[in-house]
Amino acid sequence: MRSPADRRGAAPAPILQIEGLTVRFGGLTALNDVNFSVMPGEVRAIIGPNGAGKSTFFNCVTGVLRPTSGRIVFDGKNITGRPSNEVSQRGIARSYQITNILPNATVFENVRVAAQSRRHAWSMLRDRGSFNDLNEKAESALNQVGLLPKAQELAANLSHGEQRNLEIGIALATEPKLLCLDEPTAGMSAAETHDTIELVRRIASNLTILIVEHDMPLVMELATRITVFHYGEVLADGSPAEIRDNSRVQEVYLKT
């Protein structure tokens, strides 16, 4: 582990820095004094057994949940306890574990409404189809996730895997700096999983990504760095190779 002084010496500052994050639900401590930082450009995987606090951690970072104590600094600004709409405006986007789209709108509309949260959000008197910048943004986000051919379908009519990718498209349309993916391949077929991995790789080239995932081979393949959660605490933190060789991680999690 490097000391804070070393880190300050290194050129880029962390894009996300979390200090002493603690969340208690009544008597249950879901997260206990978590310290965590992510550098720009990383693909950071968060792994850990069920109940390790991964989702709680995501909920804190994206403003869904207010932590009991601790500080979350994103891109130089303290965002601790800010509501999710402000966190989104600061540049953190999230795709959900449970598919969470607008089912009765078209695929295109789902993405455009996300793009629109950055521009023309309060425009009341012009037809929303007439904003070319929004249409282009939506098209490019759909193109990135491979859903452009399905743009005019109702989101509810997409397959499960396509809906998960639409989730990512919606997140991308908000032009995030940090993208949080909560089990993006859950419930997908092998082929769909493969496509989604390729997709994450492609978008990782100009984004920082936080990814919660259960599929270990996938994590080892994708992540540049891995953090292991266990009982609400950070058990280990390092490169995929370091994590694979870590005896404590093997004990609690990687038992094969």
């Binding site: 709409n85 989104s88 789209i101 629109q116 950055r118 005019q152 109702l154």
Partner: protein
């Protein structure tokens, strides 16, 4: 959902022809409504003018009910304050000024809407509905008991202002011009509301209806959008109140009672929520049904019983209302 919603939301294909057909139908209906005073007898003309006013009230409520997914029982307040605002202006300006009445009515309704919205939009679903209902009753009690200002139980009576534009025109409303004036404002409101629902702002409202948490997560301050939606809705409802007061030359506390809000919701459900036109159709259908029943069976007839039965049958067999049914039929 249905093809209809796809048409409404889809951004490009077939847009032009759809729009053309829409404006053609709109022009035909407007033409019929414009010549109505020459054809209809006195009673039915007033009846039609009133349907337009109730339609405006119902349409304003549709912005919340159909587009934002909020059930408001506060529309009796917005309508009522439009009425009393207009009444106050007409009683205290000499000569009575129509534009001042509209301005005061809108200010009253808008102020009440802001007040109600500030407290109720933090809540969702049934909690929102109950909060607006409570505010409706508070305003009702204030208006009913503050006799020195509101006339209490008797309400306020005044005479109709002239239609006057300085240096241009100045005439007394007759039944023709009253109808055209109401028609112009209701049609203008419809066009404006239609624009709003099709704008980026309108899409955010629909997104809130579909998935509130998600709408917040993609960066929208949902509470602020809801407050603005309630205020806009309240302003249009207030305009309906002003028109009703000007047409009937009185403001009465009965209209502030929550039954008015209930009727508004029934108009919406009968006509089809989320369509803007549907609520007007629903208002017309409801009023016509009531009138026919009292003509057939006399004034003492408890008309609400058969109207209620019709309503239940419609909910079972036409859950998307008359407009939803017409749309499906046209699409086949």
């Amino acid at each position: 959902m249905t093809l209809a919603s796809l048409d409404r939301i889809s951004p490009r294909k077939g847009r032009l022809s759809h729009t053309t057909v829409f404006w053609m139908v709109f022009a035909v209906i407007m033409a019929l409504l414009v010549i109505a005073p020459f054809v209809l007898p006195v009673f039915w003309l007033k009846f039609l003018t009133e349907i337009l006013i109730w339609g405006l009230l119902a349409m304003s409520s549709d912005l919340l009910l159909g587009y934002t997914g909020l059930i408001s029982f506060g529309h009796s307040v917005f309508f009522g304050l439009g009425m009393y605002g207009a009444a106050g202006a007409l009683l205290h300006s000499h000569p009575a000024n129509l534009w001042l009445a509209i301005l005061c009515g809108l200010a009253g309704a808008g102020g009440a809407a802001l007040f109600v919205a500030y407290f109720s939009t933090r809540l969702r679903d049934v909690y929102f509905a109950i909060t607006t209902l409570i505010f409706a009753q508070i305003f009702y009690v204030i208006i009913f008991t503050w006799t020195s200002v509101t006339g209490g139980e008797n309400g306020l009576i005044f005479s109709r202002p002239h239609f006057a534009i300085p240096f241009l025109v100045d005439f007394k409303f007759d039944r023709y011009t009253m109808h055209w004036f109401v028609l112009a404002l209701v049609a203008g409101s419809y066009v404006l509301l239609r624009r709003i629902t099709r704008s980026p702002f309108g899409m955010v409202l629909q997104s809130i209806r579909e998935n509130e948490a998600r709408t917040r997560a993609i960066g929208y301050p949902v509470d602020r959008y809801k407050i603005v939606a309630v205020m806009l809705s309240g302003l249009f409802a207030g305009l309906a109140g002003v028109l009703y007061a000007v047409q009937n030359e009185f403001a009465a506390p009965d209209f502030v009672f929550f039954i008015t809000s209930g009727d508004t919701i029934i108009f919406n459900v009968m006509g089809g929520i989320g369509t803007l036109v549907g609520p007007i159709v629903g208002a017309g259908f409801f009023q016509l049904l009531r009138e026919l029943l009292s003509r057939l069976f006399g004034d003492q007839f408890p008309y609400l019983i058969p109207v209620g039965m019709v309503f239940i049958v419609m909910i079972i067999f036409l859950p998307q209302g008359l407009m939803g049914w017409a749309r499906r039929w046209l699409n086949q």
